[in-house]
Amino acid sequence: MSITIRVNGKDRQLDVDPEMPLLWALRDVLGLTGTKYGCGEALCGACTVHLNDHVVRSCVTPVSRAANAEVVTIEGLSPDGNHPLQKAWVELGVPQCGFCQAGQLMTAAALLKKHPRPSDEQIDQSMAGNLCRCGTYTRIREAIKKAAGVGQ
């Protein structure tokens, strides 16, 4: 089945099973490997992408749901890595192993788009589903605040 998805601003034609998880389509078909496979059950957030400006777990999202929709992955968050969050991430050295960080950044980016100056509670509630086995949570929170220009 042919499905058209706009990924990071470009229309992509996919000839795949409509039940294929969006994550598979992004990584294995389109070669966008920045989005990671973590748990496969929507429990960890490593596979987080934006679908029509909403945060979704691509490991459990059938690719058919993205038909004729706009998908943004970590590769499309900014043209050259200059999103305020990406800059704050670098400045604060947020990642340790880094595996979860693409998902963390995509959720944080959605948070700042809706709440440009988020409270601690808003950060905690929105980021609660993105797990980090290295425990970089405090640096993630600080980087979000730095990018938002609040609470330094």
């Binding site: 496969g40 929507a42 459990v60 944080a108 948070l111 509630q125």
Partner: protein
């Protein structure tokens, strides 16, 4: 000696009339056939209750076996966090209802829950997956409290009783999901057709609420 029933109680699947007698002693008289926990009584079974108000209240108690089943009550929480599983543990990942019962940015219900159950990932789903509004909380409430709020348009989404019947009998999305939860999840008792008939019979018989002491 006069005999007058004072309340309906459930013990397991058996509904009994608790009878208070003039002697001051009470006794329980079974009035409905026993059914297993995953079944509902048929509406016709309630004809055994002669008093129309008690019959109506008993029908609601039967309906409350569905309403308070974890498949339904997990998303009618008393608070901002839904529950999951038959043990009704807090939802994981930790989510909160947000301004419209659909989660907060980054943790919206439909970020994970699709319009159908996902067998392999075991994520339950149905169209427009979301939490019931706070005023429709069922967890921790008695059947009477739920009955009163379901009849109150200020706490039932502005629905008439006819619309309540329609919603419960024919909403195949979130209501219907209670009987089609996917994977090995235990469905709500009976089926939606039986449940709809019970709710309709409750409304037709006056939509009486059980006494506060009654539990499902």
């Amino acid at each position: 000696m006069s005999v007058f029933p004072v309340m309906l109680i459930r013990s397991g699947a058996l509904v009994t009339l608790l009878i208070a007698t003039a002697s001051g002693r009470s006794r329980e008289t079974p009035v409905l056939p026993a059914v297993s926990n995953n079944q509902l009584h048929a509406v016709a079974d309630f004809a055994a209750i002669a008093d129309s108000k008690e019959r109506s209240a008993a029908l609601f108690v039967e309906a409350s076996r569905v309403l308070l089943h974890p498949r339904c009550a997990n998303c009618h929480p008393d608070g901002d966090v839904p529950a999951q599983g038959m043990q009704m543990i807090p939802h994981q990942p930790p989510v909160t209802r947000g301004p419209e019962g659909r989660g907060v940015v980054g943790m919206e219900c439909t970020g994970c829950h699709q319009d159908r159950n996902l067998v392999h990932a075991r994520v339950p789903g149905a169209p427009d997956w979301h939490l019931a509004p706070r005023e429709m909380a069922w967890v921790g409430k008695s059947p009477r409290q739920i009955c009163e709020q379901i009849k109150d348009p200020k706490r039932n989404g502005g629905k008439s009783l006819a619309q309540i019947v329609e919603h419960n009998a024919h909403d195949k999305a979130l209501v219907g999901w209670g009987w089609s939860p996917g994977n090995d999840r235990e469905p709500a008792p009976g089926n939606q057709e039986q449940f709809g008939a019970i709710v309709a019979a409750w409304v037709e018989s006056g939509a009486e609420c059980p006494s506060q002491e009654v539990r499902r």
